[in-house]
């Protein structure tokens, strides 16, 4: 990332957030459906981010050791472990799988 990249990155993100908060939000009604939608959008986005970070590399679908780590994270989350423990165990499971020679 060059200095120009940095400037574009910082200014662009700030503009994006302010547009969402001050601009987009004024278009939104008060109904219960809108309120539900505002809760469902972040959830769909989060799920998409997880899928892309775990299941793709450079625009291609890839199935590798990251899947093992995420599966471990899912089980540990379900059991109620704190997020810090979940991410460390996920990293350890992925690292272990790679050490065994896959992914």
């Amino acid at each position: 990332m060059t200095i120009y990249g940095l400037l574009g990155f910082v200014v662009g993100l700030f503009a994006l957030r302010m547009f969402g908060g001050f601009g987009l939000s004024s278009l939104i009604g008060e109904s219960e459906s809108w309120q539900r939608l505002l809760g469902l959008i972040p959830l769909a986005l989060v799920s998409a981010v997880v899928a892309i970070q775990v299941g793709t590399t450079g625009g291609e679908l890839v199935f590798d050791a990251r899947v093992v780590g995420i599966a471990v994270a899912a089980v540990m989350s379900k059991r109620g472990l704190p997020m810090a423990a979940v991410v460390v165990l996920a990293a350890a499971a992925t690292a272990g799988t790679r050490a065994l020679g896959w992914g």
């Binding site: 662009g12 939000s25 469902l40 972040p42 959830l43 769909a44 986005l45 775990v54 704190p82 690292a95």
Partner: protein, 248 residues
């Protein structure tokens, strides 16, 4: 206590804020994610101070990762910026989701929108539903400030660690970032409408990634919220607890 934070668990105490353990856990999680992202940035030849400035002022891990992946596959700075903005466009939607959660001055709103992360927004919404607006506000800032601090500190640690370890994939650092969202996703699978949002978001993202430029699939995946809206917000059979699911 911590369980309540990451899984939107049952109401165990009437306190309208998070406990210290929850806040420390989020600080540590945010730091670990910062550690994971910095080496990805240095891999594309980014100087350490730029990594720190990007982490501190832009505050988007996925944006950094998207930028780096375009550059490393031979793309230009403008195209990397487009990818970063597309991936980060969800922050605009997250900022939008904070609309009227609590009364705030213009200055506080700038801060809210700037620091609107998935975890802080999700928990603020959850606490608003259960305890009201003042509680939502308190929880939002209880999370936003330590997470922003942890992100910068972790990014600095990642710069140091990357020099020592070399390939940070060896220690599984590339799953840290997605793993930090797993609690939210797993919890979303306890209710019908939120399950549709989770499954729709994942399938759209994976299905479209081979065909569209980086970032667009994530943006389109947000549309999974629309079919989810049409599904009744009832509990799925087999769900074994009484927690309130989702970010609704």
């Amino acid at each position: 206590m911590v369980r309540r934070l990451v899984t939107f668990g049952r109401r165990s105490t009437p306190a309208p804020g998070l406990g210290r353990a929850d806040i420390v856990a989020m600080f540590i999680s945010s730091s670990i994610i910062g550690i994971a992202v910095s080496p990805i940035m240095t891999d594309i030849g980014t100087s350490p101070w730029v990594v720190m400035a990007a982490a501190t002022f832009a505050w988007s891990g996925t944006g950094e990762v998207a930028f780096a992946s375009v550059i490393s596959s031979g793309g230009s700075t403008p195209s990397a910026l487009v990818a970063a903005m597309l991936v980060s466009s969800r922050f605009g939607l997250l900022a939008m989701s904070l609309k009227d959660r609590w009364p705030a001055s213009a200055i506080e709103r700038v801060g809210m929108y700037h620091y609107a992360s998935e975890v802080a927004v999700a928990n603020a919404i959850d606490f608003q539903r259960r305890f009201g607006s003042e509680s939502a506000r308190r929880v939002f800032w209880q999370l936003a400030i330590p997470m922003a601090a942890g992100w910068s500190i972790g990014s600095g640690m990642g710069l140091a660690l990357g020099n020592v370890i070399g390939d940070t994939r060896q220690i599984g650092l590339d799953v840290v970032f997605p793993a930090s969202f797993v609690g939210t996703v797993v919890n979303g699978l306890t209710r019908r409408d939120t399950s549709v949002a989770v499954a729709g978001g994942m399938f759209a993202a994976l299905g479209l990634t081979p065909y569209l430029p980086a970032g667009l699939p994530i943006l389109i995946a947000a549309l999974a919220a629309i079919p989810a809206l049409l599904v009744a917000p009832t509990r799925l059979r087999g769900s074994d607890d009484d927690t309130e699911a989702g970010l609704a």
